[in-house]
């Protein structure tokens, strides 16, 4: 988290404008830190060889012109399912080996136009399918807090990058919790915006109706600026909604803990939740009440079917979205297939990992003749009920508090043998995707084993600003220590307390 130059976006902008550091200096610092730590953490799948060049160009421009945005020169890492023209996009899959993107994701392009420097592309579960970043064709990412533990997933690389101080800001994608669960596991803030807030153009689709891009950041204020920068109607994505991104700033400014109505679905704090997480969240609830928040009991009767619905809707869409990886136009193809059918089947068998194949098969089944009604269609109907539950609950509260994850970061291999238990680690986050709602995970300290704990806030549509303000209040209650990091190389980094 900590770096020698700045501790927030605003501080970065001030330091830059007062010439306390150059962009090149900052860029080199993060690149060398990444170079030092990546061998042990496996956060980055590729480093942007052009980053220093770009930093120099920005420095040169800053000699003559004022910065156009706080982001001018700001270092960022992006999940490797987000496209940048001319750069590889692997989705941590063998099937995209050698692939170079022809375009830049709208969200990334908008940040680039404000002047960010992309440092590199981060590891993920293959095609964002997983909750541990173990399903990567390029090996798992390690949790900066404990290298024996997973960083969560699927945006494990991006979460770990911010936690380990390899970048102050990173982008992930969230289909069922893929930003928020790794944010909780890595002790950083992670936000999934309202569906339609940020363009998905240039995000390699996993489940089109659920995917959203979002940031990992050190604070709600920083995440807010990143969201404002990336949001808004995009002519390349017909599912984006025409809303003024600045509404998030007003939401952030106007929100107070005092008088806020926090919805508590009590059922989600009971069975199945790790004891230390339950206790910490109890502590949080008390603290918020102490500051004048009002707890409102809400029931989300259909939320217990969230996993069921998710694993039908998401796999159905995924089976379809991944049909394009066929070895005809780009990417991997098996050598010397016997015939056309063999080319398809063997390319896809060898190109995809186990979890991806499992989900393609499940999704194909859920859409297939004779079963679609009972599986895919039924799931869509229950999904509508889940959304309705939330909208009804938000008539009585401003936001809903739940745990982010039922467990602390687990050990490598702990759940890989049992897909279902892995799926269950998204039990609290999945419903926000199914209902298209904004949600975030904010760190609330570490447990007795030194592992981070996250609190999860879900809001009504378009309420990101309010959620972020509340997240900053909560973060203020639980100052995070810094993870102890051990570089793969001799030169370690000394880590002090935060702030």
């Amino acid at each position: 988290m900590k770096n020698p130059f700045f501790s927030s976006l605003a501080e970065f902008a001030r330091g830059r404008d007062e010439r306390r550091f150059s962009i090149e200096e900052v860029t080199r610092y993060f690149l060398s830190r990444t170079e030092a730590l990546n061998p042990s953490l496996n956060v980055c799948l590729s480093i942007n060889q052009n980053a220093v060049n770009r930093a120099r160009q920005i420095d040169a421009r800053l000699v003559r012109n004022k910065a156009i945005s706080p982001f001018t020169g700001y270092p960022v890492m992006i999940k490797d399912n987000l496209e940048m023209e001319g750069y590889p996009t692997t989705c941590a899959s063998r099937i995209l080996s050698g692939y170079l993107s022809r375009r830049t994701a709208t969200a990334v392009a908008r940040l680039l136009s404000l002047g960010v420097v992309v440092l590199g592309k981060t590891n993920l579960d293959e095609f964002a399918m997983g909750s541990s970043t173990e399903n990567s064709a390029f090996g798992p990412t390690r949790n900066p807090w404990n290298p024996a533990r997973v960083p969560g997933g699927s945006s494990g690389g991006s979460a770990a990058a911010v936690a380990a101080g390899l970048a102050p800001l990173s982008l992930g994608s969230d289909t069922g919790g893929s930003i928020r669960q790794p944010a909780a596991f890595c002790g950083v803030l992670g936000v999934k915006p309202t569906y339609g807030r940020i363009s998905r153009s240039g995000l390699v689709a996993f489940s089109s109706s659920l995917d959203q891009i979002g940031p990992f950041a050190g604070s709600g204020a920083d995440a807010l600026e990143a969201l404002v920068a990336m949001s808004g109607k995009d002519p390349l994505d017909m599912t984006t909604v025409d809303r003024d991104p600045a509404e998030m700033r007003s939401g952030y400014q106007s929100t107070e803990v005092m008088g806020a109505r926090i919805g508590i679905p009590e059922a989600l704090f009971g069975e199945g939740l790790d004891g230390s997480i339950r206790e910490r969240l109890k502590d949080l609830r008390d603290a918020l009440s102490g500051e004048g928040a009002r707890e409102v009991s809400v029931t989300l009767p259909h939320s217990r079917f969230g996993i069921n619905v998710y694993y039908l809707v998401a796999t159905s869409e995924a089976s379809s979205n991944l049909s394009r990886f066929d070895g005809v136009r780009y990417g991997f193809r098996v050598k010397n297939p016997a015939d056309l059918r063999a080319m398809y089947e063997e390319t896809r068998d060898q190109g995809f990992g186990d979890e991806v194949k499992r989900r393609i098969l499940l999704g194909t089944f859920a859409l297939s003749a004779g079963y679609q009604e009972a599986f895919y269609r039924k799931a869509r109907k229950v999904q509508a009920l889940i959304r309705r539950d939330f909208l009804e609950a938000f008539e009585r509260c401003d936001m809903i508090l739940t745990p982010t994850s039922p467990t602390p970061p687990f050990a490598f291999g702990e759940k890989t043998g049992d897909p279902l238990s892995m799926y269950l680690s998204d039990v609290y986050t999945i419903t926000a995707n199914l209902a298209g709602l904004p949600a975030l995970s904010v760190p609330v300290g570490i447990d007795s084993h030194g592992l981070p704990i996250g609190a999860h806030l879900i809001g009504p549509p378009w309420s990101e600003g309010r959620l972020l303000k509340m997240a900053d209040r909560i973060a203020g209650l639980y100052p995070m220590p810094l993870p102890e990091l051990h570089a793969g190389h001799a030169d370690g980094f000394s880590e002090g307390g935060r702030r």
């Binding site: 050698g98 692939y99 170079l100 022809r102 002519p235 017909m238 025409d242 259909h302 079917f305 996993i307 069921n308 619905v309 694993y311 039908l312 089976s319 049909s323 066929d326 070895g327 005809v328 136009r329 780009y330 990417g331 991997f332 193809r333 297939p337 016997a338 015939d339 056309l340 059918r341 063999a342 080319m343 398809y344 089947e345 063997e346 896809r348 068998d349 995809f352 194949k357 499992r358 393609i360 098969l361 499940l362 194909t364 089944f365 297939s368 009972a374 599986f375 039924k378 799931a379 109907k381 229950v382 009920l385 897909p419 279902l420 799926y423």
Partner: protein
């Protein structure tokens, strides 16, 4: 519901995925377990859809103005196999769909 291995192989064929015997066996068990779990949905009652007649606003459509395509090299770069400016695949025996 429990799938048979034949079910899994049928689905694998629809998905254009070759599965080894061992893979098919393993997937049969795993996918059956997941299906048994997700089938929990069957208990949910779905209320009669009273489509809310909320007036939807017309879909915003793109204007019909062509923009430049990729260069042939841009289109074919990275193709696993090509012949001149065509993508090349093993002989197609079945006629179109």
């Amino acid at each position: 519901m429990n799938l048979s291995k034949a079910d899994v192989l049928h689905v694998a064929r629809l998905s254009a995925l070759a599965l080894t015997e061992a893979e098919a066996d393993r997937m049969t068990g795993e996918i059956s377990a997941i299906l048994n779990y997700v089938e929990g949905l069957s208990v949910v009652d779905i209320p009669d859809e009273s489509q809310d007649g909320a007036a939807l606003s017309p879909t915003l459509l793109a204007t019909d103005t062509p923009s430049p395509s990729l260069s042939p090299e841009g289109a074919l770069a990275g193709a696993p196999d090509r012949s001149g400016s065509f993508f090349r695949v093993p002989r197609i025996l079945e006629e179109g769909r």
